[in-house]
Symmetry: C2
Subunit: 264 residues, 2 copies
């Protein structure tokens, strides 16, 4: 999975360049009216050439922790759903060779490339301490425990999310902002797989029923439509057997070109 991680880290490096460009105000009107993706991915076409990407040097001087792997804080629902999708990530052929399955697990890290400057306004001190919002709590199980799987064939994306005790809104229930954070993370990840680098333009969230702290829910994302540079993704947050709808949302994402990423 490091190979895919390599793709992710390289993509985040590009994202950082994009961030600097935005700080400079070098974007056109449409582009400047967005926020760049936090979990920038490369499009499907790039995933198909993941082996080529894998020969690139690992940009870290250490092996970062992949937060999408199981840990002791995961409950039975979280582990069961992880195994359900993870078992479909690799298939064995008749001659015993392993090949990609229909699902892919996306690795998840808590920091950007070491050389990320994060825009012209960012101090060196903040740069060194910056951590991804959804991975900023060290205690396992206390914050966001989640893993994202993508399905190229069905153009579908699922996220298994266990809400920790530090995500409280109303007593005993998950904060609406924490739910919005997961929706932003998963819809944005799905949009980038479908369309390449994108920036969030709009999130429209309908809260239907609250989520209890400590429970595990499923986020399911699908493509609504693509119109030019616009990618429309919908997302539903349900209980683990999808029998109860907690939240539903739509996300609009705008594609940005490599030229934008590289300051062209």
């Amino acid at each position: 999975m490091i190979r895919t991680g390599g793709v992710q880290q390289i993509a985040r490096g590009l994202c950082q360049i994009m961030g600097r460009e935005i700080s400079k105000g070098n974007f056109n009107t449409n582009i400047s009216q967005m926020t760049p993706r936090g979990t920038l991915q490369l499009p499907w076409s790039s995933i198909n050439s993941v082996r080529t990407m894998a020969v690139l040097p690992w940009p870290f001087s250490f092996q970062p922790r992949d937060f999408s792997l199981p840990n002791s804080s995961w409950g039975s629902d979280m582990r069961r759903l992880y195994e359900h999708y993870n078992s479909q990530c690799e298939v064995e052929t008749d001659d015993g060779e392993k090949k990609w399955g229909v699902w892919r697990r996306l690795p998840s890290y808590n920091r950007s490339l070491k050389y990320a400057t994060g825009g012209v306004y960012l101090s060196k001190i903040i740069q060194s301490k910056a951590r991804l919002f959804t991975r900023n709590i060290r205690e396992q199980g206390a914050g966001f425990e989640y893993v994202v799987f993508v399905n190229k064939q069905e153009q579908k994306c699922v996220c298994v999310f266990q809400a920790g005790h530090l995500l409280e809104g109303p007593p005993g229930h998950v904060h609406g902002g924490a739910i919005a954070t997961m929706i932003d993370t998963v819809t944005g990840t799905h949009a980038t797989y479908l369309s390449g680098p994108v920036m969030t333009a709009n999130l429209n969230i309908n809260y239907r029923s609250p989520i209890s702290l400590g429970s595990t829910v499923l986020l399911t994302c699908s493509l609504d439509k693509k119109e030019g540079r616009k990618t429309f993704v919908s997302c539903q947050v349900t209980n683990t057997d999808s029998s109860k709808l907690h939240t539903e949302a739509t996300g609009l994402f705008l594609s940005i070109t490599m030229g934008h990423l590289l300051g062209g």
Copy 2:
């Protein structure tokens, strides 16, 4: 400010009861399709009787920290804006007596009432460790540093927000989910002051330009309209002199009665 804090804590206790009711599914169709407010407040009518509320016993065995007070991590912009609004919270009359000003600073705590059970699904372990999502990081300045002021006369609400280095989305910039979290927090607080206890029904967020990590921004909320049990609030996230728009959003909140809060 403890008196107002008392109002807040008591309200959160009611919120917890509401949470349990929702877990039981005792709400009607409309009510069940919401998420209860995390920062539940009492309406203006209750604020006017804050002295009456103050005689109620403090529900904690300790004095909780008020996170809305300045700390050493606050930058110059954060402190300047805090002083600007805080100086208008109390006015001195000709005979030297102090009275409420047009603004009120809202205290902010990181936990619910000790007896909060948080719904039937919540384990005792999670109950004791649960913390408000926006106040769950101990390191000052690392997460959400913010203070909310409300203006009864203008039916307006402002929040001064300094984004810490653990709120990263795209490298060097604030995560879209962290921005959504502050919008949910402030619009919900404003709606409860205008209409009493409410639950979030919808958040519609347009991201215009990214926010750099470590920077301070201003969230300004105003009432759009009230229709029966519905309260429509709009919110703008700008830089400190309001010359640049970062994000704009609308929030729909549904009023819930004391009967709902108390399980009636």
